[in-house]
Symmetry: C3
Subunit: 338 residues, 3 copies
C-alpha cells in the first residue's frame, strides 16, 4: 500500500512490509504516549472523529492519539444524523464532512459503509469499525501487542504459538488476527471453542495455506500448556441454539489463576480485546488474574494509542517529523505506565 | 453594524458594506481552509459551540472554522439540558455559559431564542439557526458562493440572474437569500415552485422594491434557460393538502443532466443548501449531475468554513492579524480542493 | 493531602491549609480566566472529561478550565456505555480510559463510583459529582466565592455570618458547605427551611462541635437581617408528604428585591448554586434581584473556572509554571467581567 494519503479500510490491504513499517513508527510513538516528551507535529491539523455508532473507548483512543501528535479533534458521537434521515447519500455526507478535516476516523454500524464513505472523501479515512465487517486498528494493535510481548522475551512473531479461546465463530478480532498471522512464518494456532462457535473454515484454511499448524479443540486445559499467547474472547450464551447447549459449555472456557498455574507455562501471555465481562456468570478472564504480570490486556489497550498515532503519522506523512517537533513535558506524569 | 463584538443574529443587520467586508475576509481565509498555510491567531481562545438541536454538519463546520484559526472548541450536542427542565431561564443559561468562552455559536429549535440568549451573553453570539427564524451563516455562504462562482466568469453579483426552485414557501434559505439580494442592483429572480409552495409575497415585494425583476412560475424547463445560477431546494410532499396534489407535481421540479443539457446555458451554476434527498422518489438534484463541473453544491458547503472563519475573525477583531500568526503546514494535504 | 497526583474525591480530604493553597492558586488564575493573558503551561496535556451523566455547565466548566491552561479535552457526554452493559467492571474501564489522558474529571450517577474508578486509575481523578454523594468542586467554588465577596469588604471567612435557605435536607451543596465551614472559626450559621426539609442533624452537630453558632428556623424575614451571605437553594415541592404541606410553605422562602430591601443589611451578598428556577411558581430567587450588585450568583459560577483551573494546576504540579508559559491575548475581550 502507499503512504501517505491511503485510506485504512481493511487488514487485507497490508503486506508484511506495511505492518512492519507501521510497528516501527508505533515504537517511535512510545515516549509521546507515555508523556516523557510531547510533539506538536500535527499542530493545526483536524481529525474528524466520526462515530456514527456509540463507542467510548475506541472514539477516545483515536482522539487522544491525534491530540498526542498535536492536532485538534472535531467529532460526532452517535447516530443522530437528521441529514441521512432526510435521504442524504453517504457520498454527499462524505464530500461535505471530508472538507472539514485533514483525516477522518469513522465507525458506522453498516458493513461496507466506511469504504463507501472513503470513496467520496477528499482526505484519508481510517476504519474505526464498520459493523460485522472490519476493525483494522484493533487487529493491528493485537498483532503489535503480540510482537511487543514476544520481543520482551527476545522472540519474534515468526514461530509464535497462540491459543484463541471463546466465540471464534462471531469474533471479528480473531478472524482479523488469523488473516494477519498468514503474513508470518511457522505459526502454531490452537483454536479452542464450543463446536457451535468454532472458527469458520475459511480462516482455518488460510492459516494452513500459509504453512501454519492448526489445532481445533473444544477443551481448554489440555491445549493451553504449550503456547506463548492465550487470546481469550467473550462467549455470549445467547449464541447457542438452546439453553441446554449453553449449559454444557458453561465455565469450560473460563481462565483463572488456578487454571493458569496448573496448565500454562510460566510467562504465558494473556490477551483479550476488551471489554471483558466481569460478572460472576461470565465465561472468560477471571479478575483473580489482575495481579498476574503476564496479563497483557491493559498493555494491549494502551497499544491502541501507539498504533493509531502511527497510522495518523503515516497517512499524513509526518512520521519522519515527529521528533523534530518534540518538546519537554512540564507537568506531573508519574504512575502512567503499567 | 459594528465589528468587533457584535452578535450575528440576522441578515437584516447587514448593509452591503458589511457583506463585502465579510467576503473580503472570507477570501483571505482560503489558504488556511485549504491547508496551504495554518494560522494560530486564536491560540488560547475558546468557542462555545452550543448546539441545543442536533446538526452534524453545521456544528462541525463552526468548530472546524474556529480550530483553523487556532482556537479550541467546547460544545454541547443536543437538547439534554437538565437545567432548563429545572426551570432555568435562557438569561441565566447565557450569563453562565458565556463566561466559559470567547465567542458562542448557537443553534436552538425555538425562533428568537438565540437573540434572547445573546442579550444576556458577555461574549459575541453567532446564530447557527433558531428554528423557523434565521440561519444567517447559511445565507452568507450562499451569497458568497454566488459571488465566487460569478467572479470565476468575471461577473459581479450586480446583474445576477438566478432561478430558485422547489419549496419556496417554507425554505428558510431562499427567504434569506431574497433579503440579501435586495442589497444588490439589477437582479433577475425567477421563482419556480408549485403554486401551493410559492414564495411568500413579502419577499417578492422586497425584491421588486429593490428594483429587481421577478418572474413567478410553476414551470421548470422554460424558466431555467436564461439564468446564471439555479438554486434548487427540497420539495417535501407532505406539505401538500392532498396526495393527489402532490402527485401533480411529482418530478416536475427535478433537475438532472438531460434537462440541464437541453434547457440550461452552458456554465449555468447549480446550487443547493444540502442535504439533498438522493432517494429515487425525491424531486430535486439528480446524482447524474455529480460529474458536472458547474455543480457547485460541495464548493458551497466548503464556503461555509470560509464565511464562518471570517465572522469569527471579525467579531474577535483579529482579521488583520491572521497572516501575522501564520505557519507552514508540514503534513500531507493533497486532493483537498474540488 | 498531597499535591501533585492526588485524586480530588471529597471535601473531607482537605485541611484548612489545603483549602488556602487551592484558593491562592485560584486567585493566580484570574487574569487567565478573564482573558487578560493566556497560558500554555498544559500544552500537550489531555483532560479526560468523563461525564457518564448529562451536565452541560459542569462539563463545559471543567473543559474550559483545562483549555485555559493550554490543554486538550477528550470527553464523553452521557451514559451510552455499551462496555458497561456488556458486564465490564469500573476497574477495567478506569484502567483503559486512564491511559488516554493526563487527568480525569468524572461525573457518574452512582455514589462512590468515582472513588472506585480512581482506585484503578493511573492518573489523578477529580470528582465532578457522584450522585447523592459529593460534588467537591462545587463546595470549593462556593467557599471561594464567600472568601472573595468578604475580601471585597476587607473581611475574612473567620467570623462569617451566613444564612442557608431552602431544601437543606437534600441539598448536596449546603451539606458540603457546612463541612468546609468547620475548618474556620467563629461562624454563625442560620439554617432556614421548612421543618420537613431541615438540615440533617449530623451537619448541625459538626458546626456546633467546631464552636460555631447555629440557629435553626422556618422563618425567612426575621433571620436574614444580620448575615453577610444569604445562600439560597431550590425547594422542590414534590419533596413534601402532601400538597397541603407544600402549599403551607409556598412562597415563604422566596427572596426578592422588596424583601431584600426591607430585611437585609445593605451589601448582604446573595448566592445560589444554580440553576435557579425562574418560573413564576418557584420559591427562590426572584429575577427582580438581577440588577442588584450584591447578587453574586454569576460571579459564583465564574469562580468555578478559577477553582477548577487551580485544581488542575495543583494535581499536575504546574501552579508555579503558569506565568512562565504566559502570552498576550490578541483578540477582543471586552465586557467579559461582571
Amino acid at each position: 500500500m502507499d503512504f501517505p494519503a491511503s485510506h485504512i479500510l481493511s487488514i487485507t490491504q497490508f503486506e508484511r512490509f506495511d505492518i512492519e513499517r507501521i510497528f516501527t513508527v508505533a515504537d517511535q510513538m512510545e515516549p509521546y504516549a507515555h508523556r516523557r516528551k510531547m510533539t506538536r507535529v500535527l499542530e493545526g491539523a483536524i481529525l474528524g472523529n466520526m462515530f456514527f455508532e456509540a463507542s467510548t473507548r475506541t472514539r477516545v483512543s483515536f482522539g487522544c492519539a491525534f491530540n498526542l501528535l498535536g492536532g485538534e479533534v472535531r467529532e460526532t458521537t452517535g447516530f443522530q444524523s437528521s441529514a441521512i434521515s432526510k435521504g442524504e447519500s453517504l457520498y454527499d455526507t462524505a464530500r461535505v464532512l471530508s472538507s472539514y478535516s485533514d483525516v477522518i476516523a469513522m465507525r458506522h454500524p453498516d458493513a461496507g459503509s466506511v469504504a463507501e464513505f472513503a470513496s467520496a472523501s477528499r482526505v484519508p479515512v481510517i476504519n474505526g469499525g464498520d459493523g460485522a465487517n472490519e476493525h483494522p486498528t484493533q487487529a493491528l494493535l493485537d498483532l503489535y501487542t503480540i510482537k511487543c510481548e514476544l520481543a520482551a522475551k527476545c522472540r519474534e512473531v515468526d514461530g509464535l504459538r497462540i491459543a484463541m479461546i471463546g466465540d471464534l465463530r462471531h469474533g471479528r478480532t480473531v478472524h482479523s488476527l488469523c488473516k494477519l498471522l498468514c503474513l508470518y512464518k511457522n505459526v502454531k494456532a490452537v483454536l479452542i471453542s464450543p463446536a457451535e462457535l468454532s472458527m469458520p473454515e475459511e480462516y482455518v484454511e488460510q492459516l494452513r495455506a500459509a504453512g501454519h499448524e492448526v489445532i481445533v479443540s473444544d477443551a481448554l486445559e489440555a491445549n493451553i500448556c504449550d503456547v506463548d499467547i492465550v487470546y481469550s474472547t467473550r462467549i455470549q450464551e445467547e449464541r447457542f441454539s438452546s439453553q441446554e447447549e449453553a449449559d454444557l459449555y458453561r465455565g469450560r472456557f473460563r481462565l483463572n489463576q488456578a487454571i493458569y498455574t496448573e496448565f500454562c507455562q510460566p510467562n504465558t501471555v494473556i490477551m483479550h480485546p476488551l471489554p471483558r465481562d466481569s460478572r460472576a456468570t461470565a465465561n472468560e478472564l477471571d479478575v483473580d488474574l489482575d495481579g498476574n504480570p503476564n496479563l497483557a490486556i491493559f498493555r494491549q489497550a494502551d497499544n491502541g494509542v501507539l498504533v493509531r498515532m502511527a497510522l495518523f503519522a503515516l497517512v499524513l506523512d509526518v512520521a519522519h517529523l515527529v521528533d523534530k517537533y518534540s518538546k519537554d513535558v512540564p507537568w506531573h506524569t508519574a504512575n502512567r505506565v503499567i
